[in-house]
Point group: C2
Chain length 276, copies 2
C-alpha cells in the first residue's frame, strides 16, 4: 500500500508521500511515489501516485511525452510543459492513464489484476492560481476546493481525523506540513504497508519553484521529535481527560438483553448506572 | 457501516458499538448492534455485530434456540445458556452463522449480495476466565490474547491509532472505556456512516453481571465533555509542537524531478533545504 496526501492552502501547496510498495507481505520494497515537474518561473507541478506500481510507473514515463490534441487548431498539441492551465495539464495526465489502460488493461484483466491507479496532481502554471486534482483509474479527475482543502490516496483512513481537525484554507504552510506529517505518523503506526522514507514538498504560491523538498528517513531530527512528542503528548491529553465514573442513577436505556434460552429478546430500560 | 470495539483487560471487558445502519446514503436508520446475555452469577456475555443487518439479526434470533451436538454423549445439546466455556458458546454462535448461511446464502448470492457478517463475542462463564472472540462470515473465529487485547469490526481504521497507543492488558477498566469512546469519537468525526447513539458495557472480572450498561446519545454529558476536550486538547498539542523550519543546508535527497518534455526523469540530490 501507500499513503499520499496533498493539501491546497491560500499560502501554497503541501505534498507528502511514503515509499513502501508491497506485493504480498513478503515482497516489500521501497519506491518513490512523488515526482516534481519544474520549469522555474513558469510552472511547478507535483505528482503523487498510489495503486499498481507498474501502472503508475508507466503513467509517469508516458507523461513525459504524452500530448492531447493534434495541434490543428492551436498550432501545437498540449503537453504538461506547454499547457496554459493546470486543468489542461490534468487532462494530459488523464490521457496518459488511458494510454496505459489501452496498452495493458486487457492483459492485466486476463491475469485477474484490476487496473488500479490513483494519483494526486497539483501545482501552478503562470497566469492562473494554484490547483490540485485527484485522478482516477479511468483518467477522470476532481479538483480540490476551499471546502475540501486536501486529497488523500492509498491507506488514507488512519491519518484522516487529524486532517479534518486542523486544516482550513487559512492554515499556514508549515503548520499544514506538520499536520501532514502527524497524519503520516498515525498511518505508519497502524499499518505495516506504509513506510519510511517520506518525500515532502512545500510550495509557496506564485513562486513557480521551491527549495523546500526533503526526503525524511528515520534519522531526520524533526520527524523524530514530532513522532516522539505527538505520542507522548497525546498520551498526556488522554490521561488529562477524566475517566468515566458511574453512579447509581438509572437511565432510560433500551438495551437488548436476553436472560435465557427461548426467552424473547427484551429491552431493558431501568437497571443501569448512569455514566457521568 | 458500523463501528464496534471490544477490549479484554485483566480487570474486565469493555464493549462499545454505534447504531447507524445504512443501505446507501439515503437509507440511514438506527439499529442497535449490541446484545447482552446474562444469567446473574453464572454467565455474562455480550455480542456486537457488523455487516449485513438481515444476517446479523437472523443470527441473533437463531442464537436464542441454536444448539450443537445431539446430546447423545453429554446428555444435553450445547447452547449458549449451558455451555461450560466461552469457547463452546462461540462454537454455538458460529453454528448459528452457518445456519443462516444455509438458509439465506444461495438466495443472497443470486441477488449479488455477499454473505457478510462479522461479530465480536466476549464474556465469562463460571469456572473459567474471561474470553473474547471475533467470529467471521464462515462461522470460524479467533480469540483475543494479551498481545492483542482488542478487536474491532466495521469501520475500524479511523479509531485504531488511539487504541494502539493506549491499550495494554494492564489498562484499568474505566481508562479503557475512555479509550474506546475516544476511538469512537474519531470515527464519528471522519465517517458519516457511523452514528450516535452508542451502547457501552463495562464488565468487571468474576462478577457474572454488570450494572455498567449505558446508551450514550448527543445529550450525554460525559461524551460531550470528552468530545469537546479531546478536540480542543488535540489542537493544543498540535499547536505546541513546533512547525518545521527550513534552512539553507543541503541534504542528499534523491527526489525524482523532471525539467522538460522528452528529458529523462532524473534524481536530484543537492539543491534542497534541510528540514530542521
Amino acid at each position: 500500500m501507500t499513503y499520499c496526501v496533498a493539501i491546497k492552502l491560500n499560502a501554497g501547496l503541501v505534498f507528502l508521500s511514503d515509499s513502501r510498495t508491497n506485493a504480498g507481505l513478503d515482497q516489500i520494497s521501497s519506491f518513490r511515489k512523488m515526482i516534481v515537474y519544474e520549469q522555474t518561473g513558469d510552472r511547478f507541478m507535483v505528482l503523487l501516485s498510489a495503486g499498481n506500481l507498474s501502472i503508475s510507473q508507466s503513467v509517469r514515463e508516458i507523461l513525459q511525452i504524452e500530448q492531447i490534441g493534434d495541434g490543428a487548431e492551436s498550432g501545437e498539441p498540449i503537453t504538461i510543459w506547454n499547457a496554459k492551465s493546470m486543468f489542461d495539464a490534468a487532462r494530459v495526465l488523464g490521457a496518459a492513464v488511458r494510454h496505459v489502460y489501452e496498452r495493458d488493461g486487457a492483459a492485466l484483466k486476463r491475469s485477474g489484476v484490476d487496473f488500479n491507479v490513483s494519483m494526486l496532481f497539483g501545482g501552478q502554471i503562470k497566469g492562473e492560481g494554484m490547483r490540485l486534482f485527484q485522478i482516477y483509474s479511468a483518467g477522470n479527475f476532481v479538483e480540490a476546493t476551499s471546502e475540501t482543502p486536501y486529497f488523500q490516496v492509498g491507506e488514507s483512513k488512519y491519518g484522516k481525523p487529524v486532517l479534518d481537525r486542523v486544516l482550513t484554507p487559512e492554515t499556514p504552510l508549515n503548520e499544514a506540513a506538520k499536520c501532514a506529517l502527524v497524519s503520516m505518523d498515525s498511518t505508519l503506526k497502524s499499518n505495516l504497508s506504509v513506510g519510511l522514507p517520506l518525500d515532502l514538498v512545500v510550495y509557496e504560491v506564485d513562486r513557480f519553484a521551491t527549495d523546500k523538498l526533503i526526503c525524511i528517513d528515520e534519522n531526520n531530527p524533526y520527524f523524530r521529535m514530532l513522532h516522539d512528542s505527538w505520542g507522548q503528548k497525546l498520551r498526556q491529553v488522554f490521561d488529562s481527560i477524566e475517566d468515566p465514573a458511574w453512579n447509581g442513577g438509572s437511565t432510560q436505556v433500551p438495551l437488548m438483553v436476553s436472560t435465557g434460552r427461548n426467552k424473547p429478546l427484551r429491552k431493558i430500560t431501568n437497571h443501569q448506572d448512569r455514566l457521568i
